[in-house]
């Protein structure tokens, strides 16, 4: 497969994998730690959405599906085997627990991307396409324009019934 096309496909699949799993696991609902709350409120102050802001804050403060996707892709590449993705899931789980997070999003993200990489290897995608892809995917969420992205995430979260629960 053409390499540029493979990277674009890897980026789209990685973006969908981590955003959908993180929203499903309730990242836009509440900040997990104080840092995530500060990021969420700051994005809201700059005309962003609070749920989308909490989502960005939670991603920064603990290894959620974004980190799970990145680490599983890297381990799959390093080990040349789906076993790498499974081993990454274990380390992501312990990383989550250390960061005051129960670990569902990160572990699920690592396992689903392992399955995705294995399945798409039959159409010519390789783990390195997913490594580049997830870096691009995280850049679109964290590195371009927070207010716009937070509104998109907030809208998706409301559609998936994951509304903001204000912490007391």
């Amino acid at each position: 497969m053409n390499e540029i096309l493979a990277i674009v496909l890897g980026a789209v699949l990685s973006w969908l994998n981590f955003v959908l799993i993180d929203i499903w696991m309730g990242l836009p609902e509440a900040p997990g730690v104080r840092g995530a709350k500060a990021i969420g409120k700051s994005i809201e102050k700059r005309d962003g959405d609070l749920g989308g802001g909490y989502f960005s804050g939670n991603i920064v403060c603990s290894p959620d599906a974004s980190a799970g996707t990145l680490l599983a892709s890297c381990c799959y590449f390093a080990f040349h085997s789906p076993a790498g993705g499974l081993i990454a899931a274990l380390f992501v789980y312990f990383g989550n627990r250390i960061c005051a997070d129960p670990g569902y999003a990160g572990t699920t993200g690592a396992l689903t991307i392992t399955i995705l990489i294995w399945a798409t290897s039959y159409i010519g995608l390789s783990p390195q396409n997913f490594i580049v892809g997830i870096v691009i995917a995280i850049l679109t969420i964290q590195g371009l324009y927070h207010p716009l992205v937070s509104k998109l995430i907030g809208k998706m979260a409301r559609k998936m019934n994951r509304k903001v629960i204000e912490p007391e």
Binding site: W24, M25, G26, P31, G32, V33, R34, K37, F79, S81, P82, A83, G84, L86, I87, A89, L90, Y93, F94, R97, I98, A100, P102, G103, Y104, A105, T107, L111, P167
Partner: protein, 94 residues
């Protein structure tokens, strides 16, 4: 080549010992906010990941390794996990 059958044996072994140690099958709802250690999460995940590690690095593999890793994962989750990575205080995390 991955020996899938041994992964399944590790899962079954972890689940059976988990039942014997009275771990719940699933965390209570809403699961995404639950800190309860259950058979499906993280006992089976730990069993599969540990077996992948042993199998990949060719430390030990095969049926006995799969069974022992399943037993270890269940005992570890039941007695050691919360001591090693404790649930954070509400005051610390928020």
């Amino acid at each position: 080549m991955m020996s899938y059958i041994f992964y399944i044996i590790a899962i079954v072994s972890a689940a059976m010992v988990g039942f014997l140690l009275r771990l719940p099958l699933l965390p209570e709802r809403p699961m995404r906010q639950s800190w309860t250690i259950s058979i499906v999460f993280p006992t089976i995940i730990i069993a599969v990941s540990l077996y992948a590690m042993f199998d990949y690095f060719k430390i030990y593999n095969g049926i006995y390794t799969a069974i022992i890793i399943g037993v270890f994962a269940a005992v570890f989750c039941r007695y050691l996990l919360e001591k090693l990575v404790p649930i954070p205080d509400r005051g610390d995390s928020q």
